[in-house]
């Protein structure tokens, strides 16, 4: 008998991924629902998080602006201002992506955060990457945390970025806590291809540490009927973490493949379905 045909995951993975992304996007945009089923038709979605975590990538894949697997050069292009994703047939509903670099926040975030408090968004996607944030100082050697040793730098850098993720959540929390309408929060931990083998540590970090405590506090303030939060772990691109000068900081994990990628996306779809159901509860 001929050798067993190796399973080609590329095509099915592509189909599954497109399907899942399309499903999430349709929900974001409130399509496929009769007008009477809209919980609140004109409230958009806000995607927030530190710089280089993958917010724009996520939004561009979701909206179909980038086709998954077709267009994955993965070059980091920082966002300099707000990005709006709206359908021409329904310009009222928007998915808004905020630029994440620390120094860019003061020019856009205060207004967005007061919109959150005023109930302008039905949901907020908070993007994290377990510290594996892309940055654009040309080399890691001119990063403020570099003191002569690359391993020390990496340790410090990831820790610093993880605390920035919590800082962002803490900045958002007071605004969410006074949100005048029902609102959900979806915390996404992207770049799973870079941390896949540490799933337990990652879950520990987010589901039990300071991060979870902060979410718990918002939840206690608002109550389950007004606030719901969920988790998603995913990867959209399989790519090493590199600097602008192509220095490798973190390799994508050997063994992390499209199968895991699509498994995570499927799980995300389940989570999203839960949020959707919660939105529809009266």
């Amino acid at each position: 008998m001929a050798e067993e045909e190796p399973i080609n995951w590329k095509e099915p993975a592509q189909e599954i991924t497109r399907g899942v992304l399309q499903g999430i996007w349709d929900w974001f945009r409130g399509r496929n629902r009769k007008p009477s089923e809209f919980s609140d038709p004109v409230r958009g979605i806000l995607i927030l998080g530190p710089g280089g975590t993958g917010k724009t990538t996520f939004a561009r894949f979701l909206s179909g602006e980038l086709d998954w697997l077709q267009d994955t050069t993965g070059q980091y292009t920082e966002s300099v201002g707000l990005e709006h994703f709206a359908l021409s047939d329904d310009p009222d509903v928007e998915v808004v992506v905020a630029p994440g670099q620390d120094y860019r926040r003061p020019s856009t975030w205060p207004e967005l955060l007061s919109q959150v408090a005023a109930g302008a968004y039905r949901g907020v996607v908070l993007m994290n990457a377990y510290g594996y944030h892309t940055f654009s100082t040309p080399s890691y050697q001119n990063h403020r945390l570099y003191k002569g040793s690359k391993p020390d730098f990496l340790r410090e850098y990831y820790a610093d970025r993880r605390s920035d993720e919590i800082r962002v959540l803490k900045q958002l929390a007071p605004h969410l806590s006074i949100c005048s309408k029902r609102v959900w929060l979806l915390s996404v931990v992207a770049k799973q291809d870079l941390w896949g083998s540490q799933q337990r540590e990652v879950e520990e970090h987010y589901l039990r540490g300071d991060y979870a405590a902060e979410l718990q506090r918002i939840s206690q303030t608002l109550g389950n009927r007004s606030f719901r939060y969920e988790w998603g772990f995913l990867s959209l691109i399989i790519r090493n973490l590199e600097t602008m000068a192509s220095e490798r900081l973190q390799s994508n994990e050997a063994g992390y493949d499209m199968r895991q990628m699509t498994d995570s996306l499927r799980r995300l779809l389940t989570v999203v379905t839960g949020l959707k159901r919660w939105e529809d509860e009266r």
């Binding site: 940055f135 100082t137 080399s139 001119n142 945390l145 602008m244």
Partner: protein, 124 residues
Amino acid sequence: MSETTLIDTPDEFTARAIPLLKEYLEKLLTLKEQIRQLWIDYQTESPKYGTNKKIIFHAEYNNLSEKTKRIVPAVMQLNQQVSGMVDQGKVTPLMRAELQLRLAELESVVFDINSSLQTYRITK
């Protein structure tokens, strides 16, 4: 992986970046003004071009547009590196402030010049 990439120290970086930021701010401002002036000239009656007026102005507009399209991506590449230094680079607070100010100006003119190309478009 061996890392043989040439990199600038933070001091070298700022010493090179600042003149570049100044130079390209000036260049893009000039280009933006040329685009606007061309449109104004096009609107004012001028018999010397005769029936070729439209073709000539369109060709000139195209030149400016092409030049912009070549310069802007390279400027954005510079901007992103500067932005990285502003956000997380090893620079003194004053240097950070200077880079941030210069970057803000250059980013604004990049934004403006793209809309100028739309606003003052001259079609055939």
